[in-house]
């Protein structure tokens, strides 16, 4: 009797050991991710450990197959995936610009229904509908594509002050030249840089979003005096020596070291560039050491003659992660992908991004007491912007902004006039409009 009951009990235990964990365990899910990742950035090591490894620790039932790419290779792969309709489950995206295909072809899901009640943790501005009229990616920040970085220490050495007007800036050019320095550095070999980081702000100042809305709607033209005037002012920057043609032979990465080394007192770039200057926690080194960071400021471009929007700069909702529309609604894969997207915009991750790159959180419940002076400078920079205006490549179709990107380089090199570029852009717009 004892023997029989023991055998029965052991059999029961054996069956239970097999089936009970399987019953209560979560279903194992594998998701693919196309991630935009700069492995050379100071915060890269922390991001790997504290974002991706931590997610695997917290959600052991989700296996993440991650593909990390940066700059052009990332965009090329995105377009290839989109063309083949084989988008990864989770993909890094822009709210427009280079991710336009994902938006307009609705290759990613609307995240607003998935966000549900959690929307209360995000600033309402970042949840606004994006290029195709829905929340295609959950943004990690609001960002300004324009900032004028100033090496105040260098200016003081030369007896100069931060310029308040464009004329002040022009007046500095001969002094800087006499000292063997450039005026403004830009890493503008890639043609998007001038359009995104400088010209969009000039358009915001001289043309304004209202007029741009009319141009986008086809009620006004790129050849109208306002837009041509913005191109002409941009051309003046070269004629006045404020910009030099060599910015178009300076790579986006090369400019960081040049500015940190004091090759010019000014640099124009997006506010995100702060992340390249602060301390890399894996090495303890920084392009601009913490004790020197107080000598650097971020301001907006000085007052431009004839501007209609003073103290404005181009701003846009930041990047984030979207979810492939191919994932079946209500599936375990959708739940896993959403778990990852939520984690990537969680308090922990946004705090990390604030500390390592000065990314202004899109959540309203994130703070940190471990910020370097330059990160604080970036936070303060936003107070200077009275009006946020369009970043052109986030509101114009690719066919329309590409002629602007190339045209800006051509104006700088003296290969095209502002009116020629405006006419080419209008032609591109008309062709694009005809296909809609």
């Amino acid at each position: 009797m004892f023997k029989r009951s023991t055998v029965f009990l052991l059999t029961l235990l054996l069956i239970a050991s097999v089936f009970v964990p399987a019953t209560f365990a979560q279903e194992r899910v594998t998701i693919t991710v196309l991630n935009y990742f700069d492995l050379t950035s100071p915060g890269a090591e922390r991001e790997l450990q504290e974002v991706w490894h931590e997610f695997s620790n917290r959600f052991p039932h989700i296996t993440v197959l991650r593909e990390d790419l940066f700059l052009e290779p990332f965009h090329q792969k995105t377009e290839a995936y989109a063309a083949a309709n084989q988008l990864p489950d989770v993909i890094y995206m822009w709210p427009g610009g280079r991710s336009t295909t994902l938006h307009t072809k609705r290759l990613v899901k609307d995240l607003r229904p998935l966000l549900g009640e959690d929307a209360k943790y995000f600033s309402e501005a970042v949840l606004a509908p994006q290029t195709a009229g829905y929340l295609a990616e959950l943004p990690n920040t609001m960002t300004s594509s324009h900032a004028l970085y100033v090496n105040v220490g260098l200016l003081q050495e030369l007896g100069l002050e931060i310029p308040e007007t464009y004329e002040d800036l022009v007046a500095m050019v001969p002094v800087l030249k006499a000292n063997g320095l450039d005026t403004i550095l830009m890493g503008a070999q890639d043609d998007w840089v001038i359009q995104s980081c400088l010209f969009s702000t000039i358009v915001g100042r001289l043309v304004g979003d209202k007029k741009m809305d009319e141009i986008i709607a086809g009620e006004a033209k790129f050849t109208d005096s306002e837009f041509v005037g913005a191109l002409e002012f941009y051309g003046r920057l070269f004629a006045d020596g404020v910009l030099h043609r060599k910015i178009m032979n300076t790579t986006y990465g090369e400019v960081n070291g040049l500015f940190a080394a004091g090759r010019a007192p000014f640099m124009i770039d997006g506010d995100w560039k702060v992340g390249n200057f602060i301390t890399d926690t894996s090495t303890g080194e920084a392009l601009i050491p913490v004790d020197k960071q107080d000598e650097f400021k971020m301001i907006i471009f000085p007052a431009i003659p004839g501007e209609i929007n003073p103290n404005s700069a181009s701003t846009v909702v930041g990047t984030g992660y979207g979810m492939s529309a191919n994932i079946p609604a209500g599936s375990a894969k959708e739940a896993a992908a959403w778990e990852l997207i939520k984690w990537l915009q969680s308090v922990e991750v946004q705090k990390l991004r604030l500390e390592t790159g000065g990314t202004i959180p899109s959540r309203i419940d994130v703070t940190s007491d471990q910020l370097e002076p330059l990160v604080n400078e970036r936070l303060g920079y936003y107070a200077l912007i009275e009006t946020g205006t369009y970043v052109l490549d986030s509101v114009l179709a690719g066919e329309v902004y590409l002629p602007i990107n190339i045209g800006l380089q051509e104006i700088g090199l003296g290969l095209a006039t502002p009116m020629e570029v405006a006419e080419r852009t209008q032609e591109a717009y008309d062709a694009w409009k005809a296909n809609q």
Binding site: T100, T101, Q189, M248
Partner: protein, 301 residues
Amino acid sequence: MKKAAFWTEERRAYLILVFPAVIIYWAVMAFPTIFSFILSLTNYNGGPVFGNPDVKIVGFTHYVRMFNDKYFWISLKNNGLIMAISLFGQIPLGFLFAYVLHRKLIKFGDFFQTIIYLPAVISTIVIGRLWQSFFSPYGPFTEFMRRFNPTWENELFFDPHLAILPVLFVILWMYTGTYLIIFLANLQKIDPALIEAARIDGATEWQVLTKIILPALSGVIVTTAILAISGSLKSFDLLFAMTGGNPARRTSVLALYMYDNAFRGAPKYPLANAISVFMVLLSLILIMVVRITESRFGGRE
């Protein structure tokens, strides 16, 4: 009976041996080329290709658009320059170095052989970045020139006519070693007794070169010319890393122009396919020209 005669054992063996190669050739060469041509005639712009009701045949619209685009002609011109530096720079230099090394006209031949071939084993992306830094307005080349003229500005990339020059220089530097190895290997195949006999008969070095070596290598020269032409037309990686086709697309080539249309901004796949079809046709025409030239004027091995 006839059927049995057709399927001889020898014929079957040929077919079995050729079948895998034919399948692979069709899968990775012929089919993509034909499919690319078909896509170039449509308005396909992403999404499913087959069964997509929005995909329509639009004829040669994209070819007309391509020929009307000034950036196409800039790219084509740059491809022509790269081809010229390959055909009239890399091949003659590669041959010259190979000849000098083979005939032992200088000492330390192995050392020079290694030095000349070294760039060919380094990643093209690394080379592109390296030379981009070298020619940068803030790079070593500018610093070096300023030792002679302190006010010198590096304008190399800004003049639309000069912007391609640094790229051409790097292409020459990078690929000459490959042709050196090809020529050296083929020079070693020429019977030394032939050259020795000619020298005993009083032939000069020039006569040995023009009467024995060059005729013997004419087939190799054609092969290297084909390699140079196809290599020139598919130039992409070095330019992508070094200039990205800029400033203002003045250093673009057809492959970069195709890439821009396929992957930058809104994708224009039919136009990109039209460009790739044009590249294939151009390549075929140029290779035919080389073959005809060789058959008319070339020597016999």
